[in-house]
Symmetry: C2
Subunit: 371 residues, 2 copies
């Protein structure tokens, strides 16, 4: 019997995983991590009010979620001072990115990103047959000029740009980003991933302008709001751009529990302020630990600190694998020269202390390797 054949595009795709999950590593090691500091999750947890809302929703989960995410969308609109029609709620930024690529990128269409930026975006572009063009970081920042120039050169349908950036933690000012928006090539859509913007200094995000059809902003409840496992993100854009999602989205794809949790999380502004302060303190402490070990913490506008280990990628990979072996889940940039760094998520004092305890031996063993 002849087996069913995948589309030519699907046949050409590898089975791939943008990130190996910590649970997979734990199963391979045969023991749990001592500290989970690798996925920029908010180990401080979501607002207690969000937890309570999700616990209440659990007993009502026999109902599908509202396919319009009406209440959450309207609360977000009020929060941001924009119209509900300019917001699309989706299954995390990952899910929304997949839909945007599907809507705009046909086989062979050009897309521009930075070399070393978000692998899941690249995965989606490959998955729809897009042609990915990468420009290098400039220092440890994404390079708006290079992104714009490359998009001009290749006639890009999309530019992906994260501000603040992951994995470097760096950021541009709102002025720089607005200038980038103002210089977008004709017909090009900028995906401005602001997953970490709740943790960035004032003046990082340009004013929301839903009158332009060339920018789609991405926000999430996975980072500052501590709800990564609930899968709630949203896109902000011109109503016509937003309406495109209705052509392809899974209308009943939202978890009802996630919808209710996000609504409560959004309302608890005191918790967000608490998290912002807690994350800032944790960043400082990770920085102190890095410096105490002779390493250089990079400035961060996120809930992680990227630490320059002072040598090449091989050295940083050795530090990382030593930390992982010691039960500390951390990750690192994939691409040189950013891969001279490891990336440590903010965490509870207990988790950061575990990192502090494990780091000296991890470094010493990596130095032994160097010899």
């Amino acid at each position: 019997m002849k087996k069913p054949s995948l589309t030519p595009l699907a046949q050409s795709l590898p089975a791939s995983v943008p990130f190996v999950g910590p649970e997979t590593q734990e199963r391979q090691m045969g023991r749990p991590f001592v500290a989970r500091l690798g996925a920029n999750e908010s180990t401080f947890g979501p607002s207690p009010k969000a937890i309570a809302a999700m616990q209440k929703a659990a007993s009502e989960v026999w109902m599908y979620g509202d396919p319009e995410s009406h209440d959450l969308r309207h609360a977000l609109a009020a929060h941001h001072g924009i119209a509900p029609e300019t917001i699309m709620v989706g299954e995390g930024i990952d899910g929304l990115l997949g839909l945007v690529v599907r809507l705009y990128v046909g086989e062979g269409d050009a897309v521009v990103t930075s070399d070393g930026a978000y692998p899941t975006f690249n995965y989606h572009v490959a998955g729809f047959g897009g042609m990915l063009h990468k420009v290098p970081y400039k220092g440890d920042l994404e390079d708006p000029d290079a992104l714009i120039a490359k998009a001009d050169e290749v006639g890009a349908k999309l530019i992906y740009f994260a501000n603040p950036d992951n994995p470097m933690g760096s950021w541009h000012s709102a002025e720089v980003v607005q200038d980038m928006i103002d210089r977008l090539p004709e017909g090009c859509l900028l995906i401005l991933d602001e997953a970490y913007v709740d943790l960035a200094p004032e003046g990082t995000a340009p004013a929301l302008d839903t009158s332009t059809q060339n920018v789609l902003r991405m926000r999430t409840f996975s980072k500052a709001h501590g709800m990564a496992g609930a899968r709630v993100g949203y896109a902000i854009g011109h109503p016509e751009v937003i309406s495109g999602f209705h052509k392809v989205r899974n209308h009943f794809g939202m978890s009802r529990i996630g919808q209710d949790g996000a609504l409560a999380a959004l309302a608890d502004t005191a918790w967000l302020e608490h998290i912002q302060a807690t994350v800032a303190a944790s960043r400082d402490r990770i920085g102190e630990i890095a410096r105490a070990n002779g390493l250089t913490p990079l400035p961060s506008a996120t809930n992680f600190v990227t630490i320059d280990c002072g040598h090449d990628g091989g050295f940083a990979r050795a530090v990382l694998s030593n930390l992982v072996a010691a039960g500390i889940f951390v990750r690192m940039p994939f691409v040189a020269p950013q891969d001279r760094c490891i990336r440590v998520s903010c965490g509870t004092n207990e988790q950061i202390s575990a990192f502090e305890k494990a780091l000296p031996a991890a470094l010493a063993a990596a130095h032994e390797n160097l010899k």
Copy 2:
């Protein structure tokens, strides 16, 4: 400034909604439904153990879900007596259907389904540019012979077939389904949607056979397990077919709460038996109410009863809209002659009593219309 342009395929798609959600109708009416019996949700709720597991998971939701759904997949494998590599956990059957269509259906590729079967599948086929070929039901059952013949005729990549069927509640025996599997055209993949199979009589599902590459079975926690709002479904198939999902799925797309809830729900076999008995009793009661009003309930292997209203689609639509206006959320088949029916989900005695109370006036008003 030239706006970004959708792909030609995306441009050709309408903004569409396979189903209008009950919350949307409630907002339009300005009041909540008295009884929510339209989406085949399990108003009896999930297992209390599943609720407890989800409530516990809510406080751990700062962590992403395990991208391998390892524990759930292994528990399902043990439950079904199959290998974990033959199972893919996904964001409900809706999400999995979208991925399967994406993997197998290129623009213009032929796909076969029954006229009046699951609209969300059709939505996905249209969304990837597939050419949908529909065959009529035979009586109130899907017609395996016609599906196979049409697939042969058009060289279909996929056949969609639900057993038990939605919206009619009808079902074929395992022998008939196995015979259909044995007669599949070369290179054709049968999507066997068994969302309701937990509520069907013994002998409805053919034995699981993961050695064939031509069948993909779809199961869900949304129906008998009462977790529609948690978005957990799974596909069962040959390991090579299952591995295709890894090319395109959102690896971190599963809700951690849903994963934990499903694991607990699966383990609570006593609750499932309780639901099976409760649903059977509720089907009987809906049938009695139908007959007491001069209508004909169709046999059902699901958690709903499709009721023949004895006239044409216009009459049934009038009955339905009268019920909706009375606060009873129900739905009906879209296509003639099945649209002579309304479809009533099983529900708590209180909800079914509300339906019982509203039905006579809804019928009387529809009869007035007929005159």
